[in-house]
Each structure stands twice: as structure tokens, then as C-alpha cells.
Point group: C2
Chain length 266, copies 2
């Protein structure tokens, strides 16, 4: 499982304030704690748009890479901010670009950056922000988008397809349709990663952590192998270890048993 | 979700002793606690075979029905013990017979009892005890068995198909193959129930409760709508409420929100 730690997000009040005041200690600590908890990428979202975003993202990347060797995930809708983040990155492992969708203008600006930097990229199965396409349309969008991305010479293993799960509170069928979409995408694109921004599924409902980890178990069985989440949620991480073993992705259950011996399942 | 409470099982040392000494108070309390925790059926397994089993099962049924109005599940491989249990049952709601499999001798003895009593029945997708058929064979066995059962005039809604999940520790593919089998059975037999004896999946591994609840979430997304389990495991019951909502079986999430208001998700 590939974990993208979600905590450095400027829309969270305390994080937004730390970004604005350039509080490097606070951001570094957040990066370090997520890496220790098992994050493979550290997502950086400035929470602001316009001119400030590019500066913010460059500063976040600079700060995160002093704290940990984990690559960053550049979380922005603005190709200029992504370019600024990539320019600031000096680490070994290439970053993850979060995200592109089937919208020509942004794709044309972002895909050359992916090619040039060797980054990986999240391909969101949407054609416009705020849309809620049918399950069939989502799968079609994902396949079209991946074809376009790999057509530029970007290998499937660098593409993270995100079926863009709508919240359960908006449509009760959304999570089960997302699982069905993941199973189809997994079958059609066995070498791509499948990712989701986990917390969206529980938006607007109580008991969000319970819903998040329960959905994660279900999505892993459907082919999900990456997620944007809070790696400090121990019960969630336990669920991942169990769900991966149950999905047949942990030969002899060796990783599961190792986590158990390390006391991580208690 | 239909819950069959598993705790009255004579292979558990304390329960076996209570059955042997006819400790009605102990068994009644176990029945009552499971009903309060949400069991729809109270499983009765004497843990003994031969002559003793029929007497044990009749006594268990008599004891359970003084403690709760929930119907019993008669858990025996011996048609004589099942007949004795049915004869002792005086409750309103018909019992569940646990179980039959595709083995002619037992089927011929048990199906007339199902017809006569109006009971429901668990159809195990196995052709002999201890077998581990291929996933395709399991689905074929389930369909054949259900055809035979419904051919006797027993309605699909009285049949609980059990895909007989093998432990993860014996084959790492077993749980994912079981989920795939459940999805197929759900498609072929939309009106049947799909059940599993949950704890088998984690046999031989540490962290069993974590594995059990994680697999249950996955199986519910695949079409499972009944399970034999410990209803006193609160984290497991929480997972059920969340998993059912996520599987789209809880319109407007009303049951989930109600459970949350009742403090059952904390």
C-alpha cells in the first residue's frame, strides 16, 4: 500500500496559519511525524490560490525535504504552483503530482511537467470540478485519461488513477459504485496504481474515522493500492495491514505477522 | 444484516461444561446477552456427537427459548440432533438449520425437516467436510444446492448460502476468492441470503478480531448479508453498521445515524 500523508493542508486552520507565517518548525514536525507513521509521500497543499500558491508550495517543498527523505505530493489545481513545487524539489525520489483530470487546458500544462521531472501523477476520473459522473462515465474517463498520459511516454506504474469517490452522504450508492469502478479499472489497467482521497467518502456524516477505515478495507479488496489519508490514525493503519493480507497481497501474511510482532496491531 | 450469535458452542470449554452439567442459568444468560447485543438467531452447538448430541440440542433449545424470543440456529451435522432440536422448539419464528452441504445422505435426511418445520437453512458450498474446492467449484456447488433446496418448495429467502471461506493462513487467496464467489452468488441468486462463519477466516493468525471485522467489511461489499459471529464484539458490530451504509443498503444512512445517536459507534 502506498500512503500519501494528508496532514500538510492549508485549509486546516492551524496549518494555514503556519504556512502564512512560514513556521518551518511546525511544518517539519508534521512531515516527520507522518513519515514515521508510514507515509510514502508527504502531500503539500497550501490552501491558497492565485499568486501566493506558487510561493507557498515552493516553501512547503523546501521545508518538507529538510525534515524527511520521503518525496512530496504537489497538491494543486494550478500548473504554475506545481512547476514552482517541482523546481524547489531536490530529493532523490520523484514527487507525485496531485492531480490532473480530463480537462484539456490543465492537462496540456501539467503533462509536460510530469515528463520532464520524472514525477508520478494522479489521474482523477472527472471532467470538471464538482461533477458527479455516472460509474460507467468515470471508468471511461479514467481509461481515456490514462491512455493520454501513457501516450506521452509516462509509464503506467507512474499513474495513480483516482475514481473520485463521491461522499456517501450525497448518494448512498457512491461508495459501492466506486468499488465496482476500481475493480473494473484494476482489470483493465493491471499495472496502474489506484488511489483515493479517503476522507471524502465520509463527508457530512458522524463517525468519520469508522466510515473511512471500513471503506478503505472494502476498496483494497476492490483493487485500491494507494490512498491519501492521515497515517497517524492507528486504527486506520491496522485496517490497511489486515485488508492487504485478506486481499491476498501479503504472501504467507509475513508483513501482517511482522506488524503484529512489532505491536502495531494492538 | 442478519446476525447469528455464535457463543453457545460446546467446543468452548466453559460452555461445554455448562451443557454437560445442564447449567440452565449460564446458557440462558449467554442467550440473553447475545440477543441484547443484536443477535437475530442464537446458534446452539452442543460440541458433542453421537447419542448425547440430540439430548444436548433439545435441552439447549428448551433453555434458550425461556431466555429470549429470538429463534435458534440448530448447529449440527447429525439429522437426528436437528430433528430433536426442532421438536423442542416452541417459539413463533422458525429456526435456522446450520447446515446442509452437497452430500446426498445428509440432504435427504435434512431437507424434509426444513420443509415440515418451515425453518430456514444454511447451504454450505462444500461437497464433503474438510474439502477446499476451487472458487468456480464452490459457486457451482452453491447453485446446485440452492436449486435442489428450492426444488422442494423452500423459498429462496429461507436459504442462506455459505461459500465456506477457508482460513487466510491456509491459502492467502482464500478470502479474496470468497469475496469474488459471494459477488457471483449475489448476482445469480439475488433473493437468497449469503452467510459466513466469520471467525474461520482468521484461524491460525494473530489479531483475529481485527482480521474478522476487516474481512466482514469486505464481504458485505461483495453481497454478504448474514454472519455467524460474536455480537458482543462492539468494534465488529460498529463495522457492520458502517459497512452496510457504505454498501448502499441503508437509505439516507438512517440506521447508521440512529446507531450513532444511540452512542453505539463511539
Amino acid at each position: 500500500m502506498i500512503i500519501v500523508g494528508e496532514l500538510i493542508n492549508g485549509t486546516r486552520a492551524r496549518v494555514g496559519a503556519a504556512i502564512e507565517s512560514r513556521d518551518a518548525e511546525f511544518i517539519s514536525e508534521l512531515a516527520r511525524r507522518q513519515a514515521e507513521a508510514g507515509a510514502d509521500y508527504i502531500d503539500c497543499n497550501s490552501g491558497r490560490v492565485g499568486e501566493a500558491e506558487a510561493d507557498d508550495l515552493a516553501w512547503l517543498v523546501g521545508t518538507v525535504q529538510t525534515a524527511t527523505d520521503r518525496p512530496v505530493s504537489l497538491d494543486s489545481a494550478d500548473p504554475r504552483a506545481i512547476a514552482a513545487g517541482l523546481a524547489a524539489w531536490q530529493g532523490q525520489a520523484p514527487p507525485l503530482i496531485n492531480s490532473v483530470m480530463a480537462d484539456d487546458r490543465r492537462l496540456e500544462a501539467v503533462l509536460p511537467l510530469v515528463v520532464e521531472s520524472g514525477a508520478s501523477v494522479i489521474a482523477l476520473a472527472l471532467d470538471q470540478a464538482g461533477a458527479d459522473p455516472s460509474p460507467e462515465r468515470r471508468v471511461a474517463l479514467a481509461l481515456e485519461l490514462v491512455e493520454r498520459i501513457t501516450g506521452m511516454g509516462i509509464g503506467c506504474e507512474r499513474v495513480f488513477v483516482d475514481p473520485a469517490v463521491a461522499p456517501l452522504s450525497t448518494r448512498v450508492e457512491a461508495p459501492s459504485q466506486a468499488c465496482a469502478a476500481m475493480a473494473l479499472i484494476r482489470r483493465e489497467l493491471p499495472d496502474c496504481h489506484i488511489i483515493c482521497g479517503l476522507s471524502n467518502v465520509s463527508h457530512g456524516l458522524p463517525g468519520r474515522r469508522l466510515l473511512n477505515r471500513t471503506f478503505l478495507a472494502q476498496a483494497i479488496m476492490s483493487g485500491l493500492d494507494a490512498a491519501i489519508l492521515d497515517p497517524q490514525d492507528r486504527e486506520l493503519m491496522r485496517t490497511i495491514h489486515a485488508a492487504e493480507a485478506l486481499a491476498g497481497r501479503d504472501e504467507w501474511c509475513l508483513r501482517y505477522i511482522q506488524k503484529h510482532r512489532a505491536g502495531l496491531l494492538d
